[in-house]
């Protein structure tokens, strides 16, 4: 196959720090080439160099064998490089059509020839199986459809090379399947794709070749059909990593939280709960399996006291909670790792130390006179202890949490929630978007908490995770419990059928 893009000896330096060091990366026409690496391995920097957001400190880029200098994203588009960012760059209040033609200057006419443009876009969308409703507003369409709009936008501008940055992170399983078939069609039409991800299974599924980045350097390039996920994982983190097999608990203690026929917005299939009864006991992990959007968020929020169930009963340690609000649940030692860490867990504009003592500023450890004089030194010292204990990588604990990587943000939440010595830990997608090292760390911590006698309610869309960690598994589908299974030798086939509602 013909070579489309070659990046040769790319280095990008920030101060003394090399985000990329002498990286060589090459993409052929009509192939899917994956960039694999942990968070902070330099994948985004390399792609930012490619789309002209950064200028490399050294090295050069060749397109179709010709040396090019890409000085802006607009220039990259002109050269046929299109990027679909992990967080979509769409104007929510505008329609799909408007978003696609936004900023496009192919015609010199003062007015937009709507009919003509729509025809062109529709032709493109048929060709690649990118079904979108052109006149629908972005706010009204699903995440998967928004992604199709992004891809269509890039193609409409003549992209030969598409960069997909963690494209499956926000998708449901069905949507992921749809994306795979789109990728197949793009390949068949001779488009090249750079796929950025750290999920082994999908990487092996979609890629032709895989380049592994570690600490800013390209370690090697492999053919996807000649490697295994184990090999990739080892190359990625640079050491042997065996899949941990956690022990399972079969004799849990007293219940910490019980749901008795709990309903919430019963008529909603997605985002409601109907007659849910479950129980989490001390020293066990109850895993909730299921495709995203089947009531998991609502389940977690009721268990944390954020929203109130409409009928049924919630009992904490055998009693009705005195105040059905987050404060009341926190006082009963309920901890929460929320599903959206930036929205619900952290205050991005505040420092790591502020976020670590977030709930306990009135504690005698951190303030005098019931909160009327904060002990800044004590807070600093405590935060530095936690930073070391939980391996939070940062320049200083006074740094704002918004500047941390996802894994380190999650560690800040984990540190705060586990240091509260919870009796119940609710963990929602606790490893979503994390690299292997951080994922492992979060999982180990949950097991450790369980072994100390904490009850864990684990809600995750990652089926492997639920299987690995849970002592008992419950499947949630359209707000209803489909069945309960033992976590020891779970009937995988049966569970996955239950997840599909069968």
């Amino acid at each position: 196959m013909e070579e489309l893009l070659r990046m040769e000896g790319i280095s990008k330096q920030f101060g003394e720090f090399f985000a990329n060091r002498n990286v060589c990366f090459e993409v052929r026409a009509g192939e899917v080439h994956t960039l694999l690496g942990e968070n902070g391995a330099g994948k985004s920097t390399l792609m930012n160099v490619l789309v002209g957001l950064y200028q490399p400190t050294s090295g050069s880029i060749f397109l179709h064998g010709k040396k090019v200098k890409i000085d802006s994203p607009a220039h990259a588009v002109k050269l046929g490089i299109g990027m679909v960012h992990q967080h979509f760059m769409l104007v929510e209040a505008m329609t799909v059509f408007e978003n696609i033609i936004l900023g496009d200057r192919r015609s010199k006419k003062p007015f937009i020839d709507v009919k003509e443009r729509k025809k062109e876009i529709l032709e493109l969308s048929w060709k690649y199986g990118l079904n979108v409703e052109l006149d629908e507003k972005i706010t009204n369409i699903a995440v998967g459809a928004q992604q199709r709009v992004e891809i269509l936008k890039a193609l409409y501008r003549g992209a030969e090379l598409l960069i997909l940055d963690e494209p499956t992170a926000a998708l449901t399983d069905v949507e992921v399947e749809g994306l795979y078939s789109i990728i197949e069609k793009l390949k068949a039409e001779g488009k090249s794709i750079v796929f950025i991800s750290h999920k082994m299974r999908e990487v092996l599924h979609v890629s032709d070749r895989i380049t592994i980045l570690r600490a800013g350097e390209a370690i090697c390039t492999l053919d996807a059909d000649k490697t295994t996920s184990q090999e990739l994982a080892n190359l990625m983190i640079g050491r042997e990593l065996s899949e941990p097999i956690y022990s399972k608990v079969t004799q849990p203690g007293d219940p910490v939280i019980e749901f008795i026929n709990v309903s919430y917005k019963k008529s909603f299939k997605h985002g409601g709960l109907s007659e849910v009864s479950l129980r989490v006991a001390k020293g066990e992990i109850l895993g909730i399996a299921g495709v995203d959007g089947n009531g998991q968020s609502q389940l977690a929020q009721i268990a944390a006291g954020v929203i109130v169930n409409e009928s049924g009963e919630v009992k904490l340690k055998g009693k009705k909670p005195s105040t059905f609000a987050p404060r009341g649940f926190i006082d009963e030692r309920v901890s929460l790792i929320p599903e959206d860490r930036n929205l619900m867990g952290l205050v991005g504009d505040m420092s790591i130390e502020d976020n670590l003592v977030f709930k306990s500023t009135e504690d005698v450890r951190f303030s005098n006179f019931h909160g009327w004089l904060l002990k800044k030194n004590a807070i600093r010292q405590y935060s530095e202890e936690l930073r070391d204990k939980y391996d939070i990588r940062c320049q200083s604990v006074a740094q704002e949490t918004r500047n941390l990587s996802g894994g380190n943000q999650q560690k800040v939440i984990l540190a705060r929630e586990l240091e509260a010595e919870p009796d119940l830990l609710i963990a929602v997608h606790p490893t979503r978007g994390l690299d292997i090292g951080a994922t492992r760390y979060v999982r180990d911590s949950m097991i450790e908490a369980r072994d100390k006698g904490c009850g864990v309610l684990l809600i995750s869309a990652d089926f492997d995770e639920v299987l690995q960690l849970s002592d008992r598994i419950i499947v949630l589908f359209e707000g209803q419990i489909m069945g309960e299974y033992s976590g020891k030798n779970p009937p995988i086939q049966e569970i996955s059928l239950a997840m599909a509602g069968k």
Binding site: F14, G15, L53, P326, M344, L346, D349, E362
Partner: protein, 351 residues
């Protein structure tokens, strides 16, 4: 961290510098000597002890209004009603001092308390509307400004009117807030203003409640998930910020103005917003920026008399400072600028 503090000082400083340069160009275009005009400006503000004192007197209401905005914004509340809350405070204080039928320091205290309560109440109303009905406070607080201004019209034209001119009676002599130095117009009001500034700073940055209030301002969802009562903090921010403005109104009427007339207090609310924004929502910096605004106001009159340059040039400079300061802080969030500064500071950044 150091970098951030540094930028918080650098941006306002640069904004002021740039605004002055453009202002001087405008003065030059008008055919006057800019150096001389600016000389008159500063002589007017600092030239004599009396001028210096006038500047301080002028800064007092601005400090209160700046702190009013600052406090509310820290909780994510865009209180644009500083003017209305200020006026309600002034009216309540005046009413108490006139209607109580006695005079003396205890009446002063009572009048000040009335001012605080009235300002707080005027802040509470939009707070209730926001918390229970979801109305946008930017709209409601401005509307409440109109209500307060019109109500003041009623007060000085009929309710508390004295004589044939549309103005109220003056605060009785013994009820006035006393001067610090007998022959200068500076009153203890300025001390109250500075103390409120320090108190606000202490509350926001050194207490648990202040911490939670700021957290609600930054991220209400996370605050709710972590067990803070978002609604109570928002109401508290409305009430306290209104009370600060009300205290300002009371201090101004009891210490400086003594009576209500048409146009009293006009523009204070928006000056307060501008001041707080330039000060990057830091209470101590708010006090300093408010003083700077007063320097411009007092000095501009001297400049007009001395060099013939109209005071409106100073309004232009003031507006430019605001634009530059706001644009400057917004610019800091742009990715390219971030990269530039991280290179400049040699910060290690893994992208």
């Amino acid at each position: 961290m150091l970098k951030k503090n540094f930028m918080n000082v650098l941006i306002p400083m640069l904004s002021i510098l740039l605004a002055f340069i453009i202002g001087m160009i405008i003065i030059l275009c008008m055919g006057a000597n800019p150096i001389q005009a600016i000389g008159f400006l500063f002589r007017g503000a600092f030239g004599t002890v009396t001028n210096l004192s006038n500047t301080v007197v002028r800064s007092m209401p601005l400090i209160f209004c700046g702190l009013c905005t600052c406090f509310a914004y820290r909780c994510g509340i865009f209180n644009l009603g500083g003017e209305g809350q200020f006026l309600m405070g002034a009216m309540a204080a005046l009413a108490v001092s006139l209607l109580i039928g006695a005079e003396g320091p205890w009446v002063t205290v009572l009048a000040i308390v009335a001012g605080i309560l009235a300002g707080g109440f005027w802040g509470l109303l939009p707070g209730i509307l926001k918390s229970w009905r979801g109305l946008n406070e930017m709209i409601t607080t401005i509307m409440f400004n109109y209500v307060a201004v019109l109500f003041m019209g009623f007060v000085y034209t009929s309710a508390l009117r004295e004589g044939s001119v549309p103005q109220t009676a003056a605060v009785p002599d013994l009820t006035k807030i006393s001067r610090i130095f007998p022959n200068l117009r500076i009153t203890w009001g300025i001390v109250i203003a500075i103390l409120v500034g320090i108190a606000a700073w202490y509350f926001l940055f050194h207490t648990s409640k202040g911490f939670q209030l700021r957290a609600v301002g930054f991220n209400p969802t996370a605050s709710q998930f972590n067990g803070f009562s978002v609604k109570s903090y928002r109401l508290m921010a409305f009430v306290v910020s209104g009370a600060i403005a009300g205290l300002g109104g009371a201090s101004d009427i009891l210490g400086t103005q003594f009576r209500l007339i048409s146009g009293y207090g006009s523009g204070y609310g928006f000056d307060g917003v501008a001041i707080a924004l330039i000060a990057q929502l830091d209470p101590i910096a708010t006090v300093i920026v408010a003083y700077f605004f007063a320097v411009l106001r007092v000095g501009s009159t001297t400049m007009q008399v001395g060099s013939g340059v109209p005071t409106s040039v100073i309004d232009i400079i003031q507006a430019l400072v605001i634009i530059f300061a706001v644009a400057g802080s917004a610019m800091m969030h742009l990715p390219t600028v971030k990269v530039f500064f991280s290179n400049l500071f040699g910060k290690k950044e893994a992208a």
